[in-house]
């Protein structure tokens, strides 16, 4: 909507059409005089009305009808005369319209929008609707056949009486046909009067007799009153005047007419409905006001005032004046702003007001989530690098292969030529070991050749540990490296008491301790495990390293669980790292200052109060520290630091009744097997992480097998508090008998861990016996003999029994002054060493070198036997301590470590009889196996076997020879005896002869001596007598015959 205000100057803003009608209209009107050009149009029709002949053209404006735009307007204007322009043109009309100042009349004309009623086309078949057809529902309401009183209630019309007719009366007067369809009936006066006359007072018409007679028309009309219209209970009414009767008749006719019209209407409507939609005639309905006209009124724009009517005139002759020259102009000049007469400018008067509208648009990118996933079955590879191997078909290959000799491309020829080269190479590889690393071997030789430094050839001490309270002057009876932690060693300390001393104090508990030494702190043990009795053998569970069990002097077995301590230890080591670093300086060269610093660090109070034993121990140490004086910083600091050492008490203890009755001498965990109560052994699956069983041996001749899952033994319903009541019993017991039929005083156990399920093991005894036994209980035997064989290996107790880590069937035994190698199944030792100077106290195999053994003796020396070097004496002998060495242990290596790694980190823990634990570093040549050492050791063992076999094969001959020798000896002895007897008899005779005062002859003296010297003495005597005789002869003392008799 809106209109055009096309004044001379186009709107300041190009293309901007005024939107506000009022202002635009006003602007147009105000400008009319100035620019002689105007308008507001009402459609194109008024413009067309502009009369061409008239000097001015009329334009109707001010209506709110749609307006053509600026382009539409000039067309009708041009259609009119060129002289009169009453049109909206834009800037272009400066040429035309500007020159001819013609006026445009503005007039107002209201456009009447009359909608002509379109008569519906008459239907073809149907009776046409009457000319004056008005739909029934639009007709005025039906006239009523009754009147209404003031209150609007129906009352009978004037001249009408309502009355009640009985059914008999209705029949009598012939009105029985009346009903809803026919409401009116005619009755003659005569009938009515007859009825009155015939029935008298009971006639329903009796009351109306006079009026009936007076009725001015014939016959009378009677109507049915429906629904008790008048409220008087009557059902009929009768019109007694002509006026009322006519009224009734007209009402009836009208009703009939309308009914017919309705019918017709319905028929037309039905016909209309039957037509297709497009052919239906739409009735134009008269407009009905629903209030929309108000809206239109509101929205429409109306002139506020009368349109101004003005007339602009120009004389005819003034058109086409000579002064005006019209010429063609180029468009670019024409539209050049410098040439234009009518330049756009901004007129503040007509500055357009603009309505502001806040609109905002925001583009939101549609969000979509998608994902893809490759299957992963085929390794990803870019499509352009996927390749397929070239190939040629079999026939082509065969052709190549079959190409005859001495033709180009013959494979046979080619092979012939290159074959020899290949064979040479193949043979070379066969005769030399191509995988041997010559450089590595070279390195070994350089080391082993003695050219290395001292450190590389000598066993040197890396660290030593002792504790004034717990281990000083005690015997380190067992050493174990912690399987899961590096640089931590556990040692069991026992009193240096003889058996008699122990027996003397038997029955009293003697708390003993196992100390855990960490390499980081050589002064304070990391942890102290307390045991009610002295522990002589203990071992960590190899698979659950927090569990350890130990065998006590009284035969009981105790178990510690360190899992609760691990956190505490972790905190402690983390917090005390500064202190331990100070301590790791070995405390020897650290002066008082570092000692003090250390003490400071360590003085932080422990989170939990230590046990009573610790506090007493602490005071004892403090006393010792005071005695030794302040010059010993380690003593002082250890006294300070003792309070920090956590003491762990044992968790479980075996029942005395079911334990060993003598000292437990060895304890071994049995990983990977399950032992039943009946002595059956089942192997757990590969890689099983369970290790629940261990075996102990004691001097009472029993090997007991224990299940560590003590909690299983708890009866149902018992709580953890009842652990003390728990009876921990062995699940299997093996009784071993010694050679002389007594209980075997067992000392050491050696299982074959690779084949535990076979049940064969070795045991050593205090009497030097070596027993080969089977711990699996045979079926059906109540007291089976478990021992398969028993040999007298040593004269003293077997102090070491260990399988070679490289040869499963070779066992090292050590006792008294000798060590031996036994092979499983043989009855004689494979090898026996010579007797040593000192009593051996400990022995073990090297974990990395198959041919090397370590033995410790009572003088404090460590012997290293390299069997490939020499077997009659140790290769190296180092004196480590002045006191006897009591135990040896190598640090364990994870199974995953390579041989080189193992060789690089080999440490030997040595415990002596004064409670000192020494960690020895072994020289490289003892750590690292020489090339092919296992093989060489294998051949060495074979050689020993051959030697044994050889000795065995010569046994019969040698036995014969020995017998012979013995017989000869016996004969000789018998002869000697006989001779001696004869001499004795002779001597007795001589003695009897010389009985009277004669001094005892030399022969008599001889008799007092032994059998053998007798002959010698006799000879010497004869010599002496000869000399005497000669001497006498020289002196002339003897008669010449005597002299000659004795002379030569």
């Amino acid at each position: 909507m809106g209109e055009e205000a096309s004044a001379g100057p186009p709107p300041a803003e190009e293309g901007e059409v005024p939107v506000v009608p009022e202002t635009a209209g006003a602007a147009a009107e105000d400008k009319l005089g100035a620019t002689a050009n105007e308008t507001a149009l009402d459609g194109s029709a008024p413009a067309a009305d502009a009369d061409s002949g008239a000097a001015g053209s009329e334009v109707v404006a001010g209506d709110d009808a749609p307006v053509t735009d600026a382009e539409g307007a000039p067309v009708p204007a041009a259609g009119g005369d060129g002289a009169a322009l009453a049109v909206a043109t834009d800037g272009a009309d400066g040429q035309q319209g500007g020159a001819s100042g013609e006026a445009a009349a503005v007039d107002e004309a209201a456009a009447e929008m009359a909608v002509p009623a379109v008569p519906p086309p008459p239907p073809v078949e149907l009776e046409p609707l009457p000319e004056d057809y008005v739909p029934v529902k639009d007709l005025p309401p039906m006239p009523e056949a009754f009147g209404r009183n003031e209150e609007g209630k129906p009352i009978p019309l004037h001249g009408v009486e309502s009355l009640f007719l009985t059914g008999t009366t209705v029949e009598l007067v012939g009105l029985s046909g009346l009903g809803p369809d026919r409401v009116m009936g005619e009755v003659t006066k005569e009938v009515l009067l007859g009825d009155i006359q015939f029935r008298g007072a009971i006639s329903d018409f009796h009351a109306l007799k006079a009026r009936i007679q007076a009725a001015d028309y014939e016959p009378l009309l009677i109507r049915i009153i429906e629904d008790d219209l008048y409220g008087d209970g009557n059902n009929f009414e009768i019109a007694l005047t002509r006026e009322a009767g006519d009224m009734w008749r007209s009402v009836g006719e009208e009703a009939a007419r309308r009914a017919k019209l309705l019918e017709l209407e319905a028929a037309h409507a039905a016909a209309e409905r039957a037509k297709p939609r497009s052919k239906r005639v739409r009735k134009v309905k008269p407009w009905q006001s629903m209030g929309s006209e108000l809206d239109i009124e509101e929205a429409s724009v109306r002139p506020r005032r009368e349109p101004i009517r003005l007339v602009v005139q120009r004389k005819r002759r003034e058109f086409h004046q000579s002064g005006v020259k019209l010429a063609d102009k180029d468009a670019h000049e024409l539209w050049n702003s410098s040439q234009m007469e009518c330049r756009p400018f901004k007129d503040p008067n007509f500055d357009m007001r603009r309505m502001e509208q806040d609109v905002s648009v925001q583009a939101v990118a549609p969000l979509r989530e998608t994902s893809t996933q490759s299957s992963g079955a085929i390794p990803p590879r870019p499509a352009n690098t996927q390749t397929r191997a070239l190939d040629i078909d079999e026939d082509a290959k065969r052709e190549l292969l079959q190409r005859p000799r001495s033709t180009p491309g013959s494979v046979a020829d080619f092979l012939e030529r290159v074959r020899d080269q290949c064979e040479v190479a193949l043979v070379q590889n066969e005769i030399t070991n191509i995988f041997r690393d010559d450089l590595a071997a070279l390195n070994d030789e350089a080391d082993g050749g003695g050219g290395g430094s001292r450190k590389e050839t000598l066993v040197s001490e890396a660290q030593s540990f002792t504790h004034l309270t717990y281990s000083k002057n005690k015997v380190v009876s067992a050493i174990q490296w912690l399987p899961h932690r590096r640089g931590v060693v556990a040692v069991a300390c026992t009193e240096a008491q003889s058996h008699a001393e122990r027996v003397a104090r038997m029955g009293r508990t003697a708390p003993a301790h196992i100390l855990l030494w960490n390499f980081r702190d050589p002064i304070h043990p990391e942890l102290v495990l307390q045991s009610p009795w002295e522990v002589f053998a203990f071992q960590f569970n190899p698979l659950q390293p927090d569990l350890l069990t130990g065998g006590c002097y009284n035969g009981q077995v105790v178990m510690w669980d360190l899992s609760t301590e691990v956190d505490r230890l972790g905190r402690r080591t983390a917090g005390g790292s500064g202190g331990t670093a100070g301590g790791a300086a070995k405390g020897v060269e650290s002066g008082g200052s570092s000692g003090a610093a250390k003490a400071q660090v360590d003085l932080t109070p422990p989170p939990s109060a230590p046990a009573g034993t610790i506090s007493t121990g602490g005071t004892g140490v403090a006393a010792i520290g005071g005695g030794t004086g302040s010059g010993d910083p380690t003593g002082g600091s250890s006294a300070d630091g003792d309070a920090h050492i956590p003491v762990v008490k044992h968790r479980f203890m075996t029942d005395t009744q079911f334990s060993h009755h003598q000292v437990v001498t060895d304890l071994q965990w049995l990983p990977g097997v399950e032992i039943s109560h009946r002595g059956k052994v089942t192997k757990l699956g590969e890689g099983s992480k369970e290790c629940n069983f261990f075996a102990t041996i004691a001097a009472d001749g029993k090997v007991l097998f224990w299940d560590v899952r003590v909690e299983k033994l708890l009866k149902k319903g018992k709580k953890a508090d009842d652990l003390l009541d728990l009876v921990w019993k062995p699940i299997h017991s093996v009784h071993l008998i010694s050679l002389i039929g007594m209980d075997l005083g067992g000392t050491r156990l050696a299982f074959d861990f690779r084949r535990l399920e076979h049940g064969m093991f070795f045991a050593g005894s205090f009497d030097g016996e070596l027993v080969y036994a089977d711990f699996i209980k045979p079926e059906g035997e109540e007291n089976p003999d478990y021992a398969k064989s028993c040999f007298q290996a040593h004269v003293g107790p077997v102090i070491a029994l260990e399988r070679s880590p490289f040869f499963e069937d070779v066992v090292l035994t050590c006792g008294d002054w000798q060590w031996q190698l036994w092979q499983e199944g043989s009855s004689t030792p494979l090898f026996q060493s010579g007797y040593a100077q000192d009593y051996y106290t400990a022995a073990c195999w090297s974990p990395t070198r198959p041919a090397v053994l370590y033995l410790a003796d009572q003088s404090g020396s460590l012997e290293v036997w390299d069997l490939l070097d020499r077997s009659h004496e140790p290769s190296i002998r180092v004196t480590l301590a002045a006191t006897p060495i009591m135990s040896l242990a190598f640090n364990p290596m994870p199974a995953a470590a390579s041989a080189a790694q193992q060789a690089a980190q080999q440490l030997l823990a040595v415990g002596d009889a004064t409670g000192v634990l020494r960690i020895m570093e072994l020289p490289r040549n003892l750590r690292r196996p020489v090339h092919n050492e296992k093989k060489l050791m294998g051949t060495w063992l074979e050689r020993q076997q051959q030697r044994l076999a050889d000795v065995g094969s010569r046994q019969p001959t040698r036995a014969g020879a020995r017998k012979e020798a013995e017989e000869r000896k016996k004969e000789a002895e018998a002869a000697a005896l006989a001779e001696a007897a004869a001499r004795e008899a002779a001597a007795k005779d001589a003695a009897a002869a010389a009985a009277a005062g004669v001094p005892p002859s030399p022969a008599d003296r001889k008799d007092r001596k032994g059998q053998h010297p007798a002959e010698f003495d006799e000879k010497a005597e004869q010599e002496y007598l000869k000399l005497e005789a000669r001497f006498k002869a020289q002196l002339g003392l003897l008669p010449p015959e005597a002299n000659g008799g004795t002379a030569f």
Binding site: R405, A412, V418, R419
Partner: protein, 105 residues
């Protein structure tokens, strides 16, 4: 046919040596003409060895234009690969022998 027999005989003879794991004859295109390995391994060896040999030969030839590669032994941790190439213009073959002398045949 006689010549196929000769080829067979050579193969047999080479295989009789200790620890020989397999023998392949490869043509100039790196296609195995005859092999004792299974297919996958053959394809691998053929592709890799022929590339390697060409490289090795070019190295030798670049050092001295008159020189040529005669034999190539690659000793690995597990075995040794011997390559006997022949670079005739019309026919170019490589004989590849893989040997692990520590293994008993």
């Amino acid at each position: 046919m006689v010549d196929v027999a000769a080829v067979d005989e050579t193969f047999k003879r080479l295989q009789s040596h200790k620890g020989v794991l397999g023998i392949i004859v490869i043509n100039a295109d790196g296609i195995a003409i005859r092999t004792t390995f299974d297919n996958d391994l053959t394809v691998q060896y053929a592709a890799l060895v022929s590339h390697f040999t060409v490289k090795a030969r070019s190295a030798v030839k670049k050092l001295d234009g008159d020189n040529d590669l005669k034999f190539l032994r690659i000793r690995s941790k597990k075995h040794e690969i011997m390559i006997a190439p022949e670079f005739e213009k019309s026919h170019e073959y490589y004989l590849v022998v893989v040997q692990d002398p520590s293994r008993e045949t």
